[in-house]
């Protein structure tokens, strides 16, 4: 009895989410058609600009976090040196850097990517450090005994051992990334979906603002549903013994 009921629940949840996507999409489309002034292409380009910024910042922060975490796990000296510095920098709210970043990098992509990078990097870094520290000692000893060194060790032991934590941290980071990029685009950066919403709001086009938010919600939802959740499921499936 247990198996079909669990299956039913999953089925039901999936039906509910599909209905949600459909309703949201229909509402968004209806609003798009109602609002005569909407330049659809412009709005989607704005969304794509924001997603691209988050993606680039994500790749950079993942790479940097992996590099620093693995180096710090290797060298106690490096850990003692960098950890206090990172702890201090971590305490600076990301948006507080925005005015400074605008001075140096202007109001475009560089500033946007830099700000998102800061929002993502700390979560990624500290999650990876924590996971490396929490790895069962005998697992890493087994890797050593069976000859895993250098790049092969990273590729076949460290990465798969870290993968579930990386996926979890990625989901959190993407959430933080969306928050901060939209805020940054509203405040200081002149392109992207945040700027689009801001312009629409300032010119009093309420329906345009609503459409923008709806489209954003659908995009974020789809990324979670079709990219992150399957990855999370796949990587955590075999992890607990």
């Amino acid at each position: 009895m247990k198996v079909p009921s669990r299956w039913m629940r999953r089925r039901l949840a999936s039906v509910v989410t599909t209905i949600f996507i459909l309703v949201a999409a229909i509402v968004a489309l209806a609003l798009i058609f109602k609002s005569a002034k909407l330049d659809t292409a412009k709005m989607f380009l704005a969304v794509i600009a924001s997603i691209s910024r988050i993606s680039v910042a994500y790749v950079l922060s993942l790479g940097a976090a992996l590099l620093f975490a693995v180096m710090m796990a290797k060298s106690k000296l490096l850990e003692n040196l960098l950890l206090p510095v990172f702890d201090l920098f971590q305490s600076i709210p990301g948006l507080a850097i925005l005015p400074l970043a605008v001075i140096y990098f202007g109001k475009g992509n560089t500033t946007a990517i830099f700000i998102i990078f800061l929002a993502m990097f700390w979560t990624m870094l500290f999650t990876i450090i924590g996971t490396l520290k929490g790895l069962k000692e005998d697992l890493s000893e087994a890797a050593t005994i069976f000859g895993a060194t250098g790049w092969k060790r990273f590729r076949y032991f460290t990465m798969p051992a870290l993968l579930p934590a990386i996926i979890t941290a990625s989901i959190i980071s993407w959430g933080a990334g969306w928050e901060i990029i939209i805020a940054a685009e509203i405040i200081g950066i002149s392109t992207g979906i945040g700027a689009f919403l801001n312009t629409a709001s300032e010119s009093g086009q309420t329906s345009l603002v609503v459409v923008g938010i709806m489209v954003l919600a659908i995009v974020v939802f789809m990324i979670n549903k079709f990219i992150w959740l399957p990855l999370l499921h796949k990587t955590t499936k075999y992890q607990t013994e």
Partner: protein, 248 residues
């Protein structure tokens, strides 16, 4: 009699907060080629630390481990290990776990596959090749651990209380399998255990360690005929003799 390993005056002290604890104190003994040597002693006598030093996973403060004319100071393809809590990689299947060591040593994919499948069959896991560790019972996990160690071409097999996290029936079956596989592979085996019975059932020689700091209390030759009858008079006599030398 050929010497497989020489353990020479190994000492190891751990520093904890403000005091230091000596785990091993000038331990010396030989390991003969092809023998099964059991190391037995109360918990905390540094048995596992000693095994880690032999494996090259830990460094002694003084003394050395020598394999033929070479000092072992680092993990070494000549030495392999079976772990107390299996230490299987949870993201890999049984087959992939056994292949891991072969892959790291650069064997061709074909050879990896062939060897790994063969050793899984030897330990009785035909049909479970594609299962992940979480889908296996404790006994099956340790069989994978054994296959993973035997599939490498290491001469020396270290076993750190390999049966202690299994139930009595499973442990018994695995001990039988180890004895059978030993005839095939002819490794030199060092087995750490806290069970006198287990040591006598399996080992050719038994080293008793003292409580902390661990040092060699006694070494016994075990001449009992195989297969060993655990209920024979000779068996019990040896149990008594060894038990007397163990201090707690």
């Amino acid at each position: 009699m050929v010497e497989a390993l020489r353990i020479e005056k190994i000492s190891k002290t751990f520093k904890e907060e403000n005091k230091s604890v000596t785990a091993l104190n000038k331990i010396s003994f030989d390991v003969r080629q092809g023998e099964l040597l059991a190391i037995i002693g109360p918990s905390g006598c540094g048995k596992s630390t000693l095994l880690k030093i032999i494996a090259g996973l830990a460094k002694p403060d003084s003394g050395f481990v020598r394999h033929k004319s070479r000092i072992i100071a680092e993990p070494n393809p000549k030495v392999t290990m079976v772990f107390q809590h299996f230490a299987l990689f949870p993201w890999l299947t049984a087959l992939e776990n056994v292949k891991f060591g072969l892959k790291m040593r650069g064997l061709s994919e074909n050879l990896q596959e062939k060897n790994a499948r063969q050793w899984l069959r030897e330990v009785g896991l035909r049909g479970s090749e594609d299962k992940h560790p979480r889908e296996l019972s404790g006994g099956m996990k340790q069989r994978v651990g054994l296959a993973r160690a035997l599939a490498t071409d290491a001469e020396i097999l270290l076993m750190d209380e390999p049966f202690s996290s299994l139930d009595a029936f499973t442990a018994h079956a695995l001990r039988q399998d180890l004895m059978r596989l030993r005839l095939k592979k002819k490794n030199t085996i060092i087995l750490v255990t806290h069970l006198v019975d287990e040591a006598i059932e399996l080992a050719d020689r038994i080293i008793v360690l003292t409580p902390r700091p661990g040092s060699v209390a006694a070494i016994f030759e075990n001449k009992l005929k195989r297969p060993r009858n655990k209920r024979s008079k000779e068996f019990f006599r040896l149990v008594d003799k060894i038990t007397k030398t163990i201090r707690f």
